[in-house]
């Protein structure tokens, strides 16, 4: 029996090829994702372990993270005076004061940025190498004094820098010219960062704004003293104002931050792989159903010759498992290629995983085979059961006329019940006030509606295809009639084929609805709140040196410039509970550039020195009125008590003012001296031309390539661009599922052509031309694809609407249906059908008429 199975597997290898490809692609995606993320993970573990000092001392801070480049003035520092104290601790071999700060900008003489803005960070570091430093000076000399810089070799090569070249460093305190005096090379992987080394006094004054402070003190332990021992000795000496960490702790913290990020990426990629697997299931199920149908007589003969039901069942399942085994093995190999490709890709993006082995852990291999084999055998289970039910009499009967399946009543009832529950869940999700619960309902609704639609798909095939292809007979004549009827011949098969496409398209449709609603909501919010003519900002929201604001103010035609700062902090309630938040600073005139709806008081009063403007939600929750005192913990660690001068209506829209406290820049800087601008709103002077001022500002700010001048239209475009980028990324990842769905259409058509060989012969004999025959196959494919598109769009519309309603409370108030995308999906589906039909149609038209008529 096993031999017969093996023979049958080999005999059908052509017909199984596309299923195999589906398994292969799914497995490759899963395995590639795992290998890629594992490789990055282990590379960075290694990197963090090698770059962390044995023991480090940093300032303890509750609200600010280390190297939190999105917010200015966040750098907690350690005084130089602490160095002699820790040097005295027994077991300390060496002490290095470290200045290390992300978020600076390096430009060439033409103000062109070197190193990616908004990509991997540019990090400024003081040139004071500790023992076992991860970088070495490989050419030139170390930086000495203000105006000298050493840059890492990867950046030097990428931008073709030469020793002696004039560069420009822009740090929080402003820009300054430097000369490239040396090149430093990583002896481990460079994670893609651009490293800018300055001598210690320069780093302190230029990067931190103060002489005599460091971001950390790095200690090396004596031989024989463990990191833990040293930490335990240092901690009591420096006191609780400082965090003392071993290399292991530092590496673990860093790995955790990265790990969280990596696991998000991994989950997202695996999610898309899962969708691809799901789509593959329908393809495999279809293939095996068709193979079993085509082999009814053969299997009947086996039964007649004494094979038991179990044996027939098993033979089909073993065939599937063989398919899974081969597919998984090939998929694993393709996965390696995929992972290597991804590593190359990120290397091109700047993150070079140097000298690291591709991490192929055994869970990856297990997962690959599990996915491949389980998916195929599970998909083949139903067809196998059907095969085992074939009676020995089938061997003697004529082959079944296709198109007469078992009644679909059970399917209808089950499907409609599931769909009803799904609709309930989606309506619940759209109306539930509790966001967490609504999210769960949405998830359940999405899943159930998908399952429900797959179940009732065969019932929908007839009406939907009649509607889609109703005009075919009129336009394409009998070829149109035949193609439409062929698509309806086996509604289960048609709907299984179409549902594969449906899944991908439903996701595209719903995400595009959410995306365009998000853009529309932003647009509405910008129209509603931004009164400024122009906005100067970094495209990723990073803070910039104050000289930018100074330049803006000095530019002719600028009437009013309002400069805003964002810092970390917390609102401290009367009972001491802290609510972490962004503390916003603003120069006078905010009400003239941003429209803020006030509950009580005025913007001007709230942003007067010593005062604060708070959100209505927070005020209500804590019983605050105009004149109430509010305690704010600033990121510097100081707590200030300010007076409520204004209460604004808490705005949950994207980009709206939430409960963030807003106060005068002068007040903010009393507590956070280093707070930098991260936005400048500009109103042009009366009589000045907006476009002229804009170009004047752009010219004036050319030396600060990290900021851009935008009017409201540019601003909307920027946000739309960011949303589109994200959507395109998601569409790209969905492409795999859609490709597998296309393979499914090809597969169904190819097997249908084989099944209908005799019919094709007859058609050709009575006068159907080759071109007409090809058109018939193509139209069938188009109908099937459009059926999938219609279901997918319907489903996606439901999901998208629900998600929009759900997120309306979070500010996604505008609903925008992206008609262009939807039309593109429909047209795309038709094109997909045409492409999928190419091979099968050609094959059908090449059949020899007489052979086809005589076909068994």
């Amino acid at each position: 029996m096993l031999k017969a199975t093996f023979r049958s597997f080999l005999a059908h290898k052509g017909r199984l090829a596309l299923s195999m490809l589906a398994v292969l692609l799914s497995v490759a995606f899963v395995a590639g994702t795992l290998m890629f993320t594992d490789t990055i993970g282990s590379t960075f573990d290694e990197l963090f372990r090698s770059t962390s000092p044995d023991v480090s001392v940093t300032a303890h801070n509750d609200v600010a993270g280390r190297n939190d480049q999105n917010f200015s003035g966040t750098v907690p520092t350690v005084p130089e005076s602490l160095i002699p104290t820790v040097r005295q601790v027994p077991g300390v071999a060496s002490v290095v004061g470290r200045v290390q700060l992300a978020g600076i900008v390096l430009t060439d003489a033409n103000n062109k940025s070197i190193g990616a803005i908004g990509g991997a960070p540019t990090i400024g570091i003081n040139w004071d190498l500790r023992p076992n430093s991860p970088v070495d000076l490989t050419s030139g000399s170390a930086p000495h004094g203000d105006g000298q810089v050493v840059v890492d070799a990867d950046t030097v090569h990428k931008h073709h820098l030469v020793l002696g070249q004039q560069l420009h460093v822009i740090a929080a305190t402003g820009g300054f010219p430097v000369t490239l005096t040396g090149i430093a090379t990583f002896n481990t992987t460079n994670p893609g960062a651009t490293l800018v080394f300055l001598d210690t006094p320069t780093a302190q004054t230029r990067l931190l704004g103060h002489a005599g402070v460091f971001t950390s003190i790095d200690l090396t332990a004596d031989k024989g003293v463990t990191h833990e021992q040293l930490r335990d000795r240092v901690a009591p000496v420096v006191g609780s104002a400082y965090d003392v960490k071993t290399a292991e702790q530092t590496a673990k913290d860093a790995a955790q931050t990265l790990g969280a990020f990596l696991s998000v990426i991994k989950d997202a990629l695996l999610g898309f792989a899962g969708i691809a697997v799901l789509v593959g299931v329908s393809l495999i199920l279809n293939t095996f159903s068709m193979l079993v149908a085509q082999r009814t007589r053969e299997l009947g003969l086996m039964r007649a010759l004494g094979a038991s039901r179990e044996q027939v069942n098993r033979s089909v399942l073993v065939e599937a498992a063989l398919l899974g085994l081969v597919g998984s093995t090939l998929g694993l190999l393709l996965g390696v290629a995929l992972a290597l490709g991804l590593i190359k890709l990120i290397a091109a993006g700047g993150m070079v995983l140097k000298g690291s082995q591709l991490a192929v852990h055994w869970p990856t291999i297990v997962a690959a085979y599990a996915v491949g084999i389980i998916v195929t055998t599970v998909s083949a289970y139903l067809p196998a059961r059907r095969a085992s039910r074939i009676s020995p009499m089938a061997a003697l009967r004529e082959a079944d006329t296709p198109g007469r399946g078992a009644p679909l009543r059970v399917r209808a009832v089950v499907g409609l019940v599931v769909l009803a529950v799904a609709t309930g869940a989606l309506v619940g999700a759209a109306t539930d006030k509790n966001l967490g619960q609504a999210g769960l309902l949405l998830g359940a609704g999405v899943l159930l509606s998908l399952v429900g639609l797959i179940v009732v798909g065969p019932l929908l095939a007839r009406p939907v295809i009649r509607a889609i292809g109703g005009w075919f007979p009129r336009v394409f004549g009998p070829v149109g009639t035949l193609s439409q009827r062929n698509a309806l011949r086996n509604p289960r098969r048609t709907s299984a084929t179409a549902s594969a496409l449906m899944i991908g398209l439903a996701l595209v449709a719903s995400l595009s609805i959410v995306g365009s609603s998000l853009a529309a909501s932003f647009d509405a919010q910008i129209d509603k709140t931004i009164g400024a003519d122009l906005i100067v900002q970094n495209s990723t929201g990073l803070p910039f040196p104050n000289e930018v604001g100074d330049t803006v103010e000095a530019t002719p035609g600028v009437g009013l410039a309002v400069r805003g700062q964002g810092t970390r902090g917390a609102l401290v309630a009367a009972d001491g509970t802290q609510q972490k938040t962004v503390v916003v600073g603003t120069s006078p005139g905010l009400e003239k550039v941003v429209r803020i709806e006030m509950r009580a008081g005025t913007v001007a009063a709230g942003t007067a020195p010593g005062h604060v403007m708070i959100g209505s939600n927070y005020a209500d929750a804590h019983g605050l009125h105009l004149g109430s005192p509010v305690n704010i913990l600033f990121q510097s660690g100081q707590t200030g008590t300010l007076t409520v001068g204004g209460i604004d209506v808490t705005d949950t829209n994207p980009g709206g003012l939430g409960d963030e406290p807003v106060l005068a820049t002068s007040t903010l800087r009393q507590y956070v001296p280093g707070a930098l601008d991260d936005i400048v709103f500009v109103n042009v002077a009366p009589g000045a031309d907006k476009a002229q001022v804009k170009s004047a500002l752009t010219t004036a700010l050319a030396k600060d390539p990290q900021v851009q001048v935008r009017d409201q239209t540019d601003y909307k475009k920027l946000i739309r661009g960011q949303i589109d980028l994200l959507l395109n990324l998601v569409y790209g990842l969905l492409a795999l599922a859609i490709i597998i769905a296309i393979l499914g259409v090809v597969n169904t058509l190819a097997l249908s052509v084989i099944e209908r060989t005799r019919e094709i012969g007859l058609l050709r004999a009575i006068g159907l031309g080759r071109a007409q025959l090809r058109r018939m196959v193509r139209l069938e494919a188009v109908v099937i694809s459009l059926f999938g598109a219609v279901l997918g769009l319907g489903l996606g519309l439901g999901w998208g609407l629900t998600a929009q309603r759900l997120l309306a409370a979070k500010g996604l108030q505008a609903l925008a249906i992206p008609w262009a995308t939807i039309i593109a999906v429909v047209v795309g589906a038709a094109v997909v059908g045409l492409l999928a039909a190419l091979g099968p149609a050609l094959r059908a038209s090449r059949l020899d008429v007489l052979d086809a008529i005589a076909h068994e």
Binding site: L762, A765, I766, G767, G769
Partner: protein
Amino acid sequence: MAAQDRSAPAARAVGLSKAYGSGDTAVLALDRVDVEIDAGRFTAIMGPSGSGKSTLMHCLAGLDKPTGGEVWVGDTELSRLGDKQLTRLRRDRIGFVFQAFNLLPTLTAEENITLPGDIAGRKADAGWLAQVVETLGLQDRLRHRPHELSGGQQQRVAVARALAARPQLIFADEPTGNLDSRSGAEVLGFLRRSVDELGQTVVMVTHDPNAASFADLVLFLADGRIVDRLMGPTADTVLERMRRFDSRGAKPTTATTD
């Protein structure tokens, strides 16, 4: 192009040969056959299994390419025609009835009947169609799908399809091979009437003497050659003629299906 002038042949073959394979293993299915199919007549082709009946029919119908000689349908010589022209010829000038699987399962009886005309984009002649349908007794079956029809009814639909476009020639390859004798006789009766009453030309391949007795002329084929012809056959004369081949040592002809 309905009933033709009875004097000109509807089709003819001149020195028609068909070989399968090449070299030593070549099989000569037809060996320099000369034949004329008279218009407005019912011609039966008989012969033992493997004698070349189907091959002859396929060559005459433009389904297969001869390896030698000429085939004419009306005044068209087929050897120089490409696939497109052959397809058009079959569509416009020839009707087919096969032994089985004559109909498209997705189309109704009526749609099957009008299919060749529809493919050609011709408007059906409603009067003629009604006459054909009535002659074949299919009025009540037009909306049915093939699987809802009996075998005999299916073959009648196939005959109706062959007639519907009023082709110059109708080829039928063992049209009653899968039917019981009563339904078979019915279908043969209709073919007969289509010649007598509708003026059609029919060529039928069969190995059944009873079926052959419906024809005006029987051609006997053996080893790829026409070895005999019989005008105005009856079942008995045909059977007697076949016995004569048997006793002469030709291959047995009884009840083998091809």
